[in-house]
Structures are given as C-alpha cells and as structure tokens.
C-alpha cells in the first residue's frame, strides 16, 4: 500500500514535472484564465480551486450538523436494534455510485434549485454542494458514532451520579470527550467532498471562470481533470498541466487525510 501511494505520487510528479518546470509561477495559482488550446496556451487554476473550496464548504456546513446529531442519536439515544437498522441504511448510502447521485442531482436537485432561487440554471455550485452533503453523511456518521462509543462509560456514569440529565451528559461530557474523533470524521468528510468527481462534473455547471457566488455555475478541480484529460494530446502541455492539477488535488487530500489518520491511528495506539 505504501508502495502504491508512493507510486501514485511518483507518477503524478513525473507526469507533471515538465509543466511545473516550464509554466508554474504565481499566476498559475492566482489567475483565472484557462485556455488550453490558444496560442500560446494559458493555464491558471484559481477558478477551479475556488470552486472546489466553495462546494466543499457548503457540503460540510450542511452535512456536519446532521451528521453529528444523527451520530448522537445512534450512539446514545436509540435502542440497539433500531440503531442497527439506521446504520445499515447509511452503509447502503455509502455504496450508491456517485454517478447515480450525479444523475439524481441533474434530474431532481438542479431543477428544484433553479425554481426555488429563481436562477437561470440549477447547475450551480449550490446544487453540487447539497448533493455532496448527502454523500458525505455516511462517512461523518459512522466515524462520529465510533468516536462517541469510544468514550469510557465511567465518564457518563460520573456525570449521572452528579445529577446531570441524559442530554446534559451527552452534550457536556460525551460529545466534548469525543471531539478528536468527530474532528477526524469531519476531515475525512472534507477529503471525500474535495475528491468527489462525477457529481460535480454533472451538476456544478462547468463554467471555467472564477465563481462570484455559490449560485454560479462552476468547475471544481476534479471536474476539470475528468472533462479534459481524454481530449488532451498525450504529453502535450495541457496533458502535463492536468497532471499538475491532479498532483495538487492529491496533495490537498493527502494533507487532510493524514491529519485525520494520525488522530485515528494515534487513538488506537493509546
């Protein structure tokens, strides 16, 4: 596994190196123009980065409250039998292919968003973020629930012994104790949202310019790669530029996941 992770990194670097050496400057990150076939071609990726950040932020803002409260219900409030049923429903959700979510977003969410907010098109970052928030719920819920369950029983018992109610115990004792694990869950949710490809490719709208608001059509970095790599001539500047974008995506998700992983693995060590 280490080898494959290392190999992926090595190949991404190798394939993007020609571009990094020749074309990457500050403008690569701060500019808005992406003109792969003009002469000379221009590659600037701020728009894609901003799009990814906006959609991920929306997915997290919407998803985390539901995720954490649902995890509290499963871990602390519901009898075991009912929790099991809900848990398997979320397991099934995690298995729904992302292209199916994208299709649903295209057919149901986007038209509804266009109607509700009176927009010319529903294919916007907002629709993508909403669908993503549903997609990251299984990750958020299962890991948060595990964190809550790992809180030692004695903590809750001590709190009850002092006369606290169940809700006070949950909210003042159990949740704060589990916050490391919950934070890891949120981080993995962020990583998942940044890396999600098909949903944003199908419903974020695909406009290249830097979005002014979440209600604009936009193209996150994953969608950029998926939509252009088949048309880019092998070993062309565009090809290497797309690998550079992939390398950035890899590094961003790696950083997010590494922090989450160190929280999780570190916990087990103790």
């Amino acid at each position: 596994m280490l080898l494959i992770t290392a190999l992926i990194f090595a190949f991404l670097v190798q394939q993007s190196w020609p571009f990094i050496v020749e074309h990457v400057s500050l403008e690569f990150f701060t500019g808005d123009r992406w003109l792969p076939v003009s002469l000379p071609p221009v590659f600037q990726i701020r728009g894609f980065l901003v799009s990814s950040a906006m959609i991920t932020a929306l997915a997290i803002v919407v998803g985390v409250p539901f995720g954490v409260l649902a995890a509290v219900s499963l871990a602390e409030l519901l009898p075991h039998g009912i929790s099991v049923v809900f848990r398997s429903i979320f397991e099934v959700t995690a298995g729904i292919p992302s292209v199916v979510f994208g299709f649903l977003g295209l057919k149901l969410v986007a038209p509804a968003v266009a109607d509700f907010f009176n927009l010319p098109t529903g294919l916007t970052g907002f629709s993508a973020g909403i669908v993503l928030s549903v997609m990251i719920l299984p990750t958020l819920i299962s890991l948060s629930e595990e964190a809550l369950r790992n809180v030692p029983r004695e903590y809750a018992e001590a709190s009850y012994a002092l006369g606290a109610s169940r809700w006070q115990t949950i909210w003042r004792v159990v949740v704060p104790t589990a916050r490391g694990g919950i934070a890891a869950a949120v981080l993995l949710g962020i990583g998942r949202a940044i890396g999600e490809t098909m949903t944003v490719l199908m419903i974020a709208g695909g406009r290249l310019a830097t979005p002014g608001s979440i209600f604009d059509p936009m193209r996150p970095i994953t969608a950029l790669i998926a939509s252009e790599v088949n048309n880019a001539a092998r070993f062309s500047v565009q090809y290497h530029a797309l690998f550079t974008a992939g390398l950035m995506l890899f590094l961003i998700t790696l950083a997010v996941n590494a922090v989450a992983a160190s929280v999780i693995v570190g916990k087990k060590g103790r």
Binding site: M1, I4, T5, L7, I8, F11, L12, P65, F66, G67, L69, A70, S73, L74, L77, L78, P79, H80, F86, I89, F90, V92, T93, G95, I96, P97, S98, V99, V100, G102, F103, L104, L106, K107, L108, V134, R166, W167, G195, E196, T197, M198, L201, M202, I225, A226, V229, N230, L242, F243, G246, L249, F250, T253, L254, V256, N257, A258, A261, V265
Partner: protein
C-alpha cells in the same frame, strides 16, 4: 435505555430522520421511474441507435468484466497485505506508517487513480484503453477495502486458536494458512464482494482508462475497450439529448440493483456468519 426523550433529544432524532430520507427516497424513486423502460429486452439486447432503442447488454457485460478483472488483481495483493498487517507486522513505526498509508490511500480521489492508471497502465505499460487498464486502476482503488476487510476478519479469530495450533508444534505460517485463514474466509470473501461492488459503480477512473459509449460488439478479451453501466449513464445523461429519460432511470436502476444486491448480500452474509460462530 430510556426511551422518553427531551426536546433537544427529539431534535437529534429529527436530524437523523432527515439525514436518512434523501438516500432512501432516492433509491425508491429511481426504481419507480425506471419501471416503464425495464424489460427483459432492456437487459439482454444490444443497443440500437446509440442506445436510444434496444438494450444495454454490452454495458452490463462490460461492468461484469471489470468486476472480475478487478477482483482477480486485487485479491492476492489485498489479502496478502491484510495477512501481513494482522498476523506478522510487528507493532512498530513502520506498521503505523503502513496503517496511515492505508487510510490515506482510501482517501485519494478516484479521478487521481484515473490519472495514475492512465499514465501507468494505458501509456507506460502499453495496455492502451482496455478492460485490463481499467481493472488494474480499479484494483488500486479498491485495495484499501480488501486489506481492511481481511485484517478485520483475521482480528476476529480468537488468539486461543493460534495458541492451540502453535502448542501442537505448527509454525506461524502453518497456523495462519491452515487455522486462521479458513476461519476468516467469509470475512475475506465478503470484503472482496464489497470491492467488486465498488468497482462496478466507479465512473471517473474508467472514463480515463478505456470506457466507451458505443461499441459494435461485446468485449472479446481483457485488451478490448468496453462499455460500462456507470459510464453509459453519465454519457446518456449529459451528452445524448435524444435519450429518453425512462431509459436513463432504467440504466441507473440496473446499476443500483447490481451494486446494492452485492453489497447488502455481502453484509447480511457476514452478519449471519458472525452470529453462527460460537466464538
């Protein structure tokens, strides 16, 4: 557990209820919308006029090829790594790094796996856009799943089994291969089923490594290009305006049915087995 709830606790339960609603209703809705187009012909006939008429047989066959190709590639490596981590890995720094790599690999975006597969399998190794390239790419993507499932299954085998075997004079490898692995068989198989379900549903990696929307025949070997259900759905929905909507819903339903039966089946099987065990 007390089942009388305060107001705030009820709010919590409400959040759970809302969270569970979209996926449940989505699955139901897809199957209802698919009904008008679903027929025996739809799943057994070749497409006509770029899939606007006829069936989706080649996409189903392509997805089945992918599932088998992926499991063939991922099983030996994934199970091997799982066995190592559970049975032989010393509890040291390297093992912790390996575990971190496992979590990180699971978090690498699927489109990045696609780029990796494209650069390595399609171009460098010269497999071209083919079932082989796509299967190997999907194998890398599903590796963490198989490793984790294997490891979990091995952890589930009681230590006393190993001790009994060792005390009878078996060495560590004999113990693992004749005692521990057979006990963990179901866990490993169900883990592989889950990986196959995942491979069947992925779109971004195969989009880059060889999926096609319309091909004249069924794939003949691992070197063929292929159609696949998720890719078929993606192109139908975004690039074929003439595609009748009920056919897209039906494609989504077939994909969902395939993925969910494997997944639910694997989960139920694993739980059943767990319950049947006396240890």
């Amino acid at each position: 557990m007390r089942t009388k709830y305060s107001l705030k606790e009820l709010a919590c339960l409400l959040a759970l209820g809302i969270a569970v609603l979209p996926p449940l209703s989505a699955v139901l809705y897809i199957f209802i919308m698919a009904l008008p187009a679903l027929s025996l012909e739809f799943v057994t006939a070749m497409p006509v006029r770029r899939g606007i008429e006829g069936g989706i047989l080649p996409a189903i066959v392509g997805t089945v090829w992918l599932m088998f190709g992926t499991s063939l590639a991922v099983l030996p490596i994934g199970v091997g790594a799982g066995i190592y981590l559970a049975e032989f890995a010393p509890s040291n720094r390297l093992t912790r790094i390996l575990e971190m790599a496992l979590i990180n690999l699971a978090g690498v975006p699927s489109v990045v796996f696609g780029l990796f597969g494209y650069a390595v399998f399609v171009i460098m190794l010269g497999f071209g856009p083919s079932i082989l390239s796509a299967s190997l790419t999907l194998a890398a993507l599903t590796l963490p799943l198989v490793v984790t499932a294997t490891r979990q299954a091995l952890y589930g085998v009681p230590t006393s089994f190993r001790e009994a075997s060792l005390s009878l004079g078996a060495n560590r490898w004999q113990t693992v291969s004749t005692i521990v692995l057979p006990c963990a068989r179901t866990g490993i198989v169900t883990g592989t089923l889950l990986a196959m379900a995942r491979a069947a549903g992925e779109t971004a990696p195969i989009l880059i490594t060889g999926a096609a929307f319309a091909l004249p025949g069924l794939p003949s070997s691992f070197m063929s290009r292929f159609m696949a259900l998720p890719y078929h759905l993606y192109i139908s929905a975004t690039q074929i305006p003439a595609m009748p909507p009920e056919r897209m819903w039906a494609t989504a339903a077939v994909l969902l049915f395939l993925v969910l039966t494997m997944q639910v089946g694997a989960t139920i099987w694993r739980e059943q087995e767990r319950r049947n065990k006396s240890w």
